[in-house]
Amino acid sequence: MRVDINDLSVEIAGNRLVHDITLAAEEGQVVGLVGPNGSGKSTVLRCAYRALRPAAGTVLLGGEDLHAMAARAGARRLAALPQESSAEFDFTVAEVVAMGRLPHQRGPGPGGGGLWGKALRGAGGSRGSGRSRGAGSGGTGSGSLGHASLDARRICADALARVGAAHLANQGFLTLSGGERQRVLIARALAQQPRVLVLDEPTNHLDIAHQLDVLALVRDAGLTVLAALHDLNLAAGHCDVLYVIARGRIVASGAPHDVLTPQLLADVFGVRAHRVRHPETGAVHLLFDRLDRHDHQERGTQP
């Protein structure tokens, strides 16, 4: 599913954080957002997973306005890994992954009923409530409930297996290492069965092997991906298209190595960059050094 962000502007408490952002991700493309700290990458992504409402502009999923959709309908198309990954309570991995099914569950309120809800619904003759609604009489209703839950379980188990974390299902989420947590959160996103995946710094706090793993997983998911990344070499190596954001505006976009020129890296990130070829794969890598102060001032781009 393609994603189009058109003329997006966001204001928080009267401050305009991003200005007229326009970007597009074709079906199945991995699109990276890069830029210095505070440039507005996260702000753009937060609009995409509806944690923020834009002051102007639209986010279109397959041509439909995300912010005009019901929240759950949006969450069925687009899943996200926000930067926060705190859980206040001791959920198991399986429970965390199962949360990904929430947007798919019909039910009384957007809830889905526990034991009491079920008991009360039973007592009330399951009037008009919940999953039995589309399934005809009470008898078949409870049957379809069983199927729905079996499906959901299979989807969650598949998702965990795809990220190679099936063995963690019964562990407490809080006991996991950073790399394991990130895998589990990707599994939760996959359990959402989305068409678009939004990732905010998915490789933060991970060692290099886990960084490569996570990005490979994301690539292999076959979804349209929008990701904010700090590591420019990782971004260049794993994204089809890069957008560079600086001070809330997009300043460059295109194929990674057309975009990440030494000139742009000096202007936007304030670093001196050298391109080198990987001796075996021939891939282009960037090496960075501090930019000398007077270099800076000659260019006159940095405050």
């Binding site: 399986a94 957007p110 034991l115 809800g117």
Partner: protein, 360 residues
């Protein structure tokens, strides 16, 4: 795992769960029934067990009683039973609102009173106890005034905590805590300026919680609030799970955290208000029971909300029995016993199990 338990586990994994839910709730339901009967039988004046069952059955089925059973019948049906039932209702209500508030403000230290509702109720209750307000309402004055001021406190806290992003956890906790201090100051001022020592003692009793004033009249509103609140929260269980993972994650899963928190605030405040109005501010149950239950069944709110009300009910029935029996014929404040019984029991469980309260 039984078929019904499998259906109940819904979208969760195929993995074995910590404790099978259906047998656990069935056992707890049985324990609650037995506890209710014990609660009726035990007290300052002993009623033989045979008589308790006989009188309960007689009251339910409309049998005839002899003349000399009348006094015991009154004790059982007009004094002990409403009190014991109310203890169960209040215990269940405090446990359930404790679960909801902890998820709502995403803080393991929270309890139903952190929102300032009970301190608000205390103002109304003490206005009646100490100043004789609303005397036109007769025996209802205390409950009505306490509930009314609980609702007023709810509106105040909500209005003060609300921001452009809905209710955020920190604002909610800080506002609730700050308002609590304000309400407590008003209560303290009333106690301080009361010239009758007896009234100050009654005020103290209310602040620590007591079911001594229970009549059948105080049961329906509290029971309706607790049942309705529990049903609503159970229906919201999955959203509570998601809320505990953070507002950003909730948004990504199609849940508007600010709005959900507002909804939960109204529900928990109404239940807390209704419960506190008939029992005073019974501490510790709302903090301890949710954690106790999570240690056994895990953090999944569908499971926690199925078990917590039963545990809360059983706990408070027995605490109330102790409050009547220990210093009979005098009564101990319930809050004293919940703390004395609860703290060691809680510490013991905490040390035995690898339970993460919220972070390791």
């Amino acid at each position: 795992m039984t078929t019904s338990a499998a259906v109940d586990a819904d979208a969760a994994s195929a993995a074995p769960r910590r404790v099978a839910l259906v047998p656990l709730t069935a056992v707890l339901g049985g324990v609650l029934l037995v506890s209710l009967v014990c609660g009726v039988g035990l007290g300052a004046s002993g009623v033989p067990w045979g008589d308790v069952l006989h009188l309960l059955r007689a009251g339910l089925t409309g049998g005839t009683l002899s003349q000399d059973e009348a006094a015991a019948y009154t004790i059982v049906w007009q004094i002990r039973l409403p009190r014991t039932v109310l203890a169960a209702v209040v215990g269940a209500g405090l446990a359930v609102t404790g679960v909801a508030v902890q998820a709502m403000v995403r803080n393991a230290l929270a309890d139903p009173f952190v929102l300032g509702i009970s301190s608000g109720a205390a103002v109304g209750a003490n206005a009646v106890i100490l100043l004789g307000a609303f005397s036109a309402l007769g025996v209802w004055a205390l409950s009505v005034s306490a509930f009314g001021s609980a609702l007023a406190a709810m509106v105040l806290v909500y209005a003060a905590a609300r921001s452009a992003h809905g209710l955020t956890p920190l604002r909610l906790v800080l506002t609730g805590t700050a308002m609590s201090y304000g309400f407590s100051a008003v209560t303290t001022l009333m106690v301080f300026s009361a010239d009758r020592g007896e009234a100050a003692r009654a005020a103290m009793m209310w602040l620590l919680g007591s079911l001594g004033g229970a009549t059948w009249g105080s049961v329906p509103l509290a029971a309706a609030a607790v049942l309705g609140g529990t049903a609503h929260l159970a229906r919201s269980a999955r959203r509570l799970d998601v809320l505990a993972m953070g507002d950003e994650t909730a948004a990504a899963l199609g849940v508007d955290a600010g709005r959900l928190r507002g909804e939960l605030f109204v529900v928990t405040a109404a239940v807390t208000g209704a419960v506190v109005a008939v029992s005073g501010a019974i501490g510790f149950v709302g903090l301890m029971v949710p954690h106790l239950v999570r240690m056994v069944v895990g953090a999944d709110h569908r499971r926690v909300l199925a078990v917590a009300p039963l545990v809360g009910a059983v706990l408070l029935v027995w605490v109330d029995v102790l409050s009547r029996v220990l210093l009979a014929p005098a009564e101990l404040p319930v809050g004293v016993i919940t703390a004395v019984v609860g703290v060691p029991c809680f510490l013991l469980l905490m040390r035995r199990r690898g339970y993460a309260f919220g972070g390791r």
